[in-house]
């Protein structure tokens, strides 16, 4: 591949790619990000490759292996272009039929179509499926058209056009003005205005500057950044190059968490390809601007998502956050001015340059512009990644896109913002999602994790879970955070074990305030949010645990009992076989009984019983 040296060569290449892509070949696009692979997409791919070869139609039908399409619940799935026929929950044995019936026979295979869990309606075309219909997939949609290993796929979807425009038509200051005007706010959680951050870093008087892409994505349940990096790495790289030009940085780092090997692999390859094509390196597109990117792998520390701890990690040290001021924009990586932005923030940049800040600022609400990608997970029917305009309500996301609660159960709460966030209850389902409204409700936007909880989720258990997470992930420097999370966890744990007493809730609240006020970094300052928000909306649940020693949701082991219903038990011996403690007694066709003294509440019996005969009291 010849390196592109200037704008006219770039435009020539674009034209060439346009022409080659314009012949309408049938394309089978298969979603193959990490969760697709975990569901066996590689077997489907192999089956397609073999069958296409067997039928000798490899030159007529293209198999495109892409990153995550976002509808994780129904993977492995494919989309057949140009009609956009959507087939889901595939197995290797379906491949032959797909090729013969749909590709060659132009017939739809009914059983592979998506069925809406609420209306039972079947959908043929992707754009009609409710999950996709209500989204505004400005960033994610390209995942369907881009094979992350092929830079030319990216070029075919307007890739590097924004960079070309920036380097030929705009000055760094003009770029910053555009980003400021768009209203883009950081997508990592804090929501700091991106343009202003760039401006401060640009104004720093030291010449050597750095930019960093924060791909640590530590919030459990959030994997938006992973899908962007795995599926469309160049979109992030392009954003970073533009940002570096605007800020005046010559070196960039992408800090990817250790737990994302495929993302690391795809970004590394993308950087290499970008270098080959001349989008990275010296004199990019003949503009005299030099920029290079290096990948840095995390080593398993949630706190390294905090920008100063991340800097410490790249410097080879313990990931301990640092006092601000001085802010990274003034004194960051290796002591130099550094601008850190989240993956999704960087991915928004080329979009804003291409479509213009006025267009962008029309999307969203007054204070929160653009779209946000959320990972909709938990007790929801349509688990997956959803990209919606800021301002859409929780109800729309959970019911219209998410398809409602798993198993038809009652919605209880949705947790946003990870361990720094809080739970939003039923009463606030019509809350429009934006930075301010979520903060007022006692949560935060966070990086985009949205965990749906139902009537069988215990909020005390949820608080305990997050506090346990935080006391392990805290760097440990500040007494308030280290001891505070430990002691809050102890109190909530005691409550969950039936050892709670009068005054515990008040002590918890007092301690939570102190931890919030006295801690230095974001982890400590928001550590109390899970407790405070669950107390705010579910205080009665805490009180039930303390006063009545009961767990209404049936989760806290010490407060529940497993009980076999006489009228439902068929005496099939299934539960007796799986019980690890031999706590169930009974004969064939006779009622089985659980010995409460031996029962360790492991749940194996409930899983084994096919007659719903075991309940939790």
């Amino acid at each position: 591949m010849k390196k592109i040296n200037n704008t006219s060569e770039f435009n020539d290449l674009k034209r060439k790619i346009e022409e080659s892509k314009s012949n309408q070949k049938t394309t089978i696009t298969i979603s193959s990000g990490t969760c697709g692979l975990a569901r066996g997409s590689n077997h489907i791919i192999k089956a397609f490759q073999e069958e296409l070869k067997k039928q000798r139609i490899e030159d007529k039908v293209e198999l495109k292996i892409t990153g995550c399409h976002g509808f994780c619940e129904v993977e492995p799935n494919i989309v057949i272009f140009p009609d956009e026929i959507f087939y889901q929950k595939l197995e290797p044995k379906d491949v032959k039929e797909i090729i013969s019936e749909t590709i060659l026979g132009h017939k739809i295979i009914d059983r592979l179509l998506y069925t809406d869990p609420q209306s039972n309606q079947k959908f043929i075309y992707k754009k009609e499926i409710p999950f996709y219909k209500k989204q505004k997939r400005l960033l994610l949609e390209n995942n369907l058209f881009v094979d992350p290993t092929e830079i030319e796929d990216f070029l075919a979807v307007e890739g590097y056009t924004a960079l070309n425009k920036v380097l030929t038509e705009l000055s760094p200051e003009q770029v910053i003005e555009i980003i400021k005007k768009s209203g883009l706010r950081g997508r990592g959680g804090a929501g700091f205005p991106t343009g202003r951050k760039w401006e401060i870093t640009r104004k720093a008087k030291i010449k050597e500057k750095y930019i960093i892409c924060n791909a640590d994505e530590g919030d459990p349940g959030a994997y938006m950044d992973r899908s962007l990096l795995e599926g469309n790495p160049h979109s992030v790289i392009e954003g970073m190059i533009i940002g570096a030009y605007a800020i005046g940085a010559s070196k960039g780092y992408i800090y990817v968490r250790d737990e994302y090997p495929l993302a690391v692999e795809n970004v590394t390859r993308a950087i290499q390809q970008a270098k080959e094509y001349g989008f990275l390196g010296e004199n990019i597109l003949g503009s005299n601007f030099d920029f290079d990117i290096e990948i840095y792998k995390g080593a398993g520390a949630f706190v390294c998502g905090e920008e100063t701890a991340l800097i410490g990690s790249i410097e080879g040290k313990r990931g301990v956050p640092r006092q601000r001021p001085p802010y990274p924009a003034q004194k960051g990586l290796f002591g130099k001015p550094t601008n850190i932005n989240n993956v999704e923030t960087w991915a928004n940049v080329p979009l804003i340059i291409n479509k213009g800040p006025e267009w962008y600022s029309k999307i969203g609400t007054n204070g929160s512009k653009g779209t946000k990608i959320f990972s909709l997970v938990g007790k929801i029917n349509n688990t997956g990644l959803v990209e919606v305009p800021m301002g859409m309500t929780l109800r729309e996301i959970i019911y219209e896109i998410g398809g409602g609660i798993l198993g038809g159960k009652e919605f209880k709460a949705v947790q946003t913002g990870g361990p720094s966030g809080g739970c939003i209850p039923k009463e606030l389902l019509d809350l429009p999602i934006d930075f301010e409204s979520l903060t007022e409700a006692g949560s935060i936007m966070g990086s985009g994790g949205m965990i749906v909880m139902d009537e069988n989720t215990c909020m005390v258990d949820v608080a305990k879970y997050f506090l346990n997470f935080l006391r392990e992930e805290s760097c440990g420097k500040c007494l308030s955070c280290r001891e505070g999370t430990q002691r809050m966890w102890e109190i909530v744990r005691d409550i969950s074990e039936g050892k709670g007493k009068e005054g515990d809730i008040e002590l918890l609240e007092e301690l939570a305030e102190a931890v919030k006020d006295a801690s230095m970094c974001g982890l400590g300052q928001t550590a109390a949010n899970p407790v405070l928000s669950t107390l705010r909306y579910f205080r009665d649940e805490y009180e039930a645990h303390i006063k009545e020693k009961k767990c209404p949701a049936g989760v806290c082991k010490d407060l529940i009992q497993y009980f076999i219903l006489e009228d439902k038990c068929t005496g099939c011996l299934a539960c007796i076989k799986v019980c690890p403690q031999e706590a169930i007694s009974g004969e064939l066709k006779k009622l089985h009984i659980i010995d409460q003294n031996k029962c360790i509440k492991c749940g194996a019996c409930v899983e084994a019983c096919r007659f719903d005969a075991i309940i939790i009291k």
Binding site: G476, L479, R482, E483, G484, T485, E513, A514, D517, S519
Partner: protein, 228 residues
């Protein structure tokens, strides 16, 4: 020179000073534990917290690490600061209940009960020993290992360190093992004194002269007989 306001007092500090250094220069007292003049500030014990800024944007920061800024508004004893400070002391007491230094702080700032189960670990991870070892004694034999609830100070692999010269600097500087409580009979023990002294300056002045906690500073209590 940088002009800022501490407790409504306009003060001048040198460029690069911290709020704590400025306060000390002016004789304004802010309690500290992990701070030591000869070592780099750490900001771990959270005792030296002060409130900066006003209104909604005000926040608590450690004065030992926060650099002075032109026009910065600092208040050392707001309700928020006092409540946070008390909780820090309570947390420290629950970890090192027999440390006289921490007990003195408790008396001084009105912490009279510990509502958390004591762990008797003695080490509050203030890091003074580590900084002493690295910066003053240049041995680099001990340091922080692990993180969060498992954070500890030890030597590499928990075995005798070759670099340790047995200088005793770590023991010398440790606030938890410095002085152990000797009981209520000790003559000059501060925790003893606070319990018996009643501020007498209210008999003479309209408001408390020692800001409620530094009993004895104005001298009124100590010189004169406590009046009932």
């Amino acid at each position: 020179m940088v002009k800022l306001i501490i407790n409504n007092l306009e003060v001048e500090a040198q460029e690069g000073w911290t709020i704590l250094e400025t306060a000390k220069f002016y004789g304004l007292e802010i309690p500290t534990l992990c701070y030591h003049e000869g070592l780099t500030p750490y900001g771990g014990c959270r005792l030296c917290l002060v409130e900066i800024g006003e209104g909604k944007k005000s926040k608590l920061v450690t004065s030992c690490t926060y650099p002075v800024e032109e026009g910065l508004i600092v208040r050392t004893d707001t309700k928020r600061v006092i409540q946070a400070r008390r909780m820090m002391i309570e947390l420290m007491l629950s970890v090192a209940p027999y440390s006289k230094v921490i007990q003195d702080l408790a008396s001084k700032f009105g912490v009279t009960k510990v509502r958390f189960k004591p762990r008797n670990e003695e080490c509050i991870l203030c890091g003074l020993c580590v900084r002493m070892c690295h910066e003053q004694m240049d041995a680099q034999a001990i340091g922080f290992v692990n993180r969060g609830k498992d954070l500890r100070i030890t030597t590499p692999f928990d075995i005798r360190s070759e670099r340790c010269r047995l200088c005793g600097g770590c023991i010398y500087i440790c606030p938890a093992c410095q002085l152990r409580c000797q009981g209520p009979e000790t003559e000059t023990a501060l925790c003893n004194a606070c319990l018996t002294i009643e501020p007498t300056c209210l008999d003479y002045y309209d408001e408390l002269q020692c800001w409620m906690y530094n009993a004895g500073r104005c001298g009124t209590c100590v010189r004169e007989e406590p009046k009932k």
